[in-house]
Every structure is written in structure tokens, then in C-alpha cells.
Symmetry: C2
Subunit: 217 residues, 2 copies
């Protein structure tokens, strides 16, 4: 049976992009269906009646929601480059950092961006980023996943690309080379991966989104 | 080598209890170290420097935080009764419902309890609970996990026991038999499992905690 893989999403969402990167890493062809969140499609409401949110991956008719859940599903359902570590403890560590990025890092970064770089908000974002900097420093690897990107790298794509774009759009500095040399280096490696490049939204769309959401600096 | 398993927690936390139930299900002996959250131990700060929260499981010196991450680790690291489904899609569904309980159900239920049963708050909690009622109804199983409890049942222990205790303490009605016949039935089955019974906090401590947190009805 030919596989049917559909992804419902919006182009500028970091959560949707996570799924695109995971699909690209596995070499899975998929149809991307762009949603209008102000006028959600009957398909989206049918496939995710609980949260009515994107991303939703539909694999041979089976819908899956929540980006972390989808990424682990992709790793379970398809062979190819592994996204999750195989060792139980390393796997737990990867899930911990993925949760940390979602619960702590992203809100702090959004606050810093939304305030156009207000000092206290930036200090709080830096406090969270420092944990990731230390993690890269201790491990001494190219990626959070070692030689290849894993769940943590994928989840940190928000830091690599969304934050970078916001820095440029608003002329603020968040992930600076002097404060975060390892994260800066990681960002370069990460944005240079083909699977990542092919999954990211165009810079112009992201800037337009940021200006609309957070206004001009 | 003899295994060393330590759990840092507080007795009344539903997140800590999730881990105790998972350990009991696997038949793992562990040392429970009760924390004072107003005066956290050096061990807790060493083992969870990022969040400084309980539960933390320490397995042969390796610390793991975040209840969902710990439960999956326990399932990966020890054989015995499986906590996660083996099928990739069923596993994704279990993770989805676990996330739903944490992100949607628990906040709505806490609001309903904290308001001592205020009408609108109860209606919002019911809206979330209805999704779980439907899920049990569609599957037609004893537990969310089928014949045995799984990740979702463990995560829903808050609904089974904490909510029940709050209902009794404050004389409010949340999970009623007429509105939620399946959830009520599930609650009975769940609270009757030995691994669950052995993991739950004493009722009196929970009531004392609720009265302190939410005041008298």
C-alpha cells in the first residue's frame, strides 16, 4: 500500500517546523496543508477535535497531534536516521531537555522578543539559555544529539532560527557569541543541515509575522 | 551490582505519586526521600539544578526529572508489565492523552476545586473530562490501557484520587456517576489496583493539604 502522509500546519509555526524537520530527516515525502487558524478547516477539526491546533500529522488516515508526540511517532514508525537516542537514560535526558525548551526557554525568549529586548526580560532568557550552553559545553558535541541532530536539536530550532530572525528584525541581541559561544556554534551547524534548511519557513514570512505580532522596534 | 533506586518527592504530589505507581507496577524496590519544598535538600538541588522540582528519580546515581519522562524511563529500563503500548500509533495516542491531562484537565480541575465548585469553573472542567469519558466509551475497556493500566491511567490518578478527595473535603461534585459513568467506573477499577493503592498518599494528609491550599468550603 502506498503511504499517505499529510501534515496540517502553518508555515511560520516552530512546532509545525519541528515536524517538517523530523520528516525530512527520515526522508519521508508528505503533503503539506496550510491552515488558516482564523478559519480552521473541517479536516483539522475532525483530526484534532480536542485541541483544534496544528501541527497534525495524518499517517494512512491516523491523526497524531502535539509536536513532541508526532516526532517520537515518526521515529517509531519509520526506519532511517534515529531521532531519539537508543539508550534509556540518554532518551530520558533528551525528553527532559525538549520539555525544558518548551516550558522554560521558549516563554522566556518570547518575553524578551516581545519586550524588544527589555533588560530584565533578556536577563531571564539568558538564564534559561545558559543551561543549554552548559549542556553543549559538557557534552562537547556538534549537536545536542552528538554527531547528528536529535529530538533536542529539533526542539531548539526555535532558538536557532526564530530567535535569530527576531534579533535581526528588532535589532536586539539574545544569543550572542560572547555569552553563548557553544550555542552560537551549534546554531551554525544546525542551520547548515539540509533537512533543517528544507523545513524552515522563508525568512520574509517570519519577519512579517514578527512585525505583526510584536510591532516595530 | 545491586540496583540503587531513590525517589525524591513529597507525599501529596500527584506527579510524585505517578512515579510511585510506575515503580510499583514494575515491582521495583526504592527508597523514598521526602523533601521539604520550603527548604530543598542539597541532593535535590544537585540532581535537578534546572527545575529544582520533585519528583526526581535517581537510578544508580543517574538523576531523571519530569514525571512523564521518569515513567517512560522506568518502562524502558525495567522489564515486567509494560506501561507504554508497543504499537507506535497507540503509543502516540497514550502520550497525547497524558499531555492533555497535564495541560488541559488538571488546570481546569484545580480551578473548579479552588473555587469550591463555582458553576462556570465546574462547567469548564466537565468539558475537559468529557473527552476522557468519550475515550473510555469508544475503547470500551476497563482502563485507558485496555485490560491493564498504562501511562494514561497513571497520569489520570489525579482525577481518580485527588479530585475524589477534594469532592469529599469541600462537598462539591465533579466526576459524577450520571455525567461520567465510564470515568466513575474507571476510577473504581483504578483505585482497586494494588500498585495504585500502595502508591497513593494517605487521605488525611491530602485533605489537610487541600484545606491549607484552598481553605474551608
Amino acid at each position: 500500500m502506498a503511504e499517505e502522509v499529510k501534515l496540517y500546519g502553518i508555515v511560520t509555526s516552530p512546532f509545525v517546523t519541528r515536524v517538517r524537520i523530523a520528516l525530512n530527516l527520515k526522508g519521508i515525502k508528505y503533503e503539506f496543508i496550510e491552515e488558516d487558524l482564523k478559519n480552521k478547516s473541517p479536516d483539522l477539526l475532525k483530526y484534532n477535535p480536542v485541541n483544534k491546533k496544528v501541527p497534525v500529522l495524518v499517517h494512512n488516515g491516523n491523526p497524531i497531534s502535539e509536536s513532541l508526540v508526532i516526532i517520537e511517532y515518526i521515529d517509531d514508525a519509520w526506519k532511517g536516521l534515529p531521532i531519539m537516542p537508543r539508550d534509556a537514560y540518554e532518551k530520558a535526558q533528551a525528553r527532559f531537555w525538549a520539555t525544558f525548551i518548551a516550558d522554560k526557554c521558549r516563554p522566556a525568549l518570547l518575553k524578551a522578543i516581545g519586550s524588544h529586548g527589555e533588560e530584565q526580560a533578556v536577563a531571564e532568557a539568558h538564564e534559561q539559555l545558559q543551561f543549554l550552553e552548559n549542556e553543549l559545553n559538557v557534552k562537547g558535541n556538534k549537536f545536542f544529539g552528538g554527531d547528528n541532530i536529535n529530538l533536542v536539536d529539533i526542539c531548539a530550532s526555535h532558538i536557532a532560527y526564530w530567535v535569530l530572525t527576531a534579533e535581526e528584525a528588532f535589532g536586539i541581541e539574545l544569543v550572542t557569541k560572547d555569552k553563548f559561544p557553544k550555542l552560537t556554534e551549534w546554531r551554525g551547524h544546525f542551520l547548515n543541515c539540509q533537512a533543517v534548511k528544507d523545513g524552515l519557513p522563508p525568512r520574509e514570512r517570519l519577519i512579517a509575522y514578527y512585525k505583526q505580532r510584536f510591532g516595530k522596534a
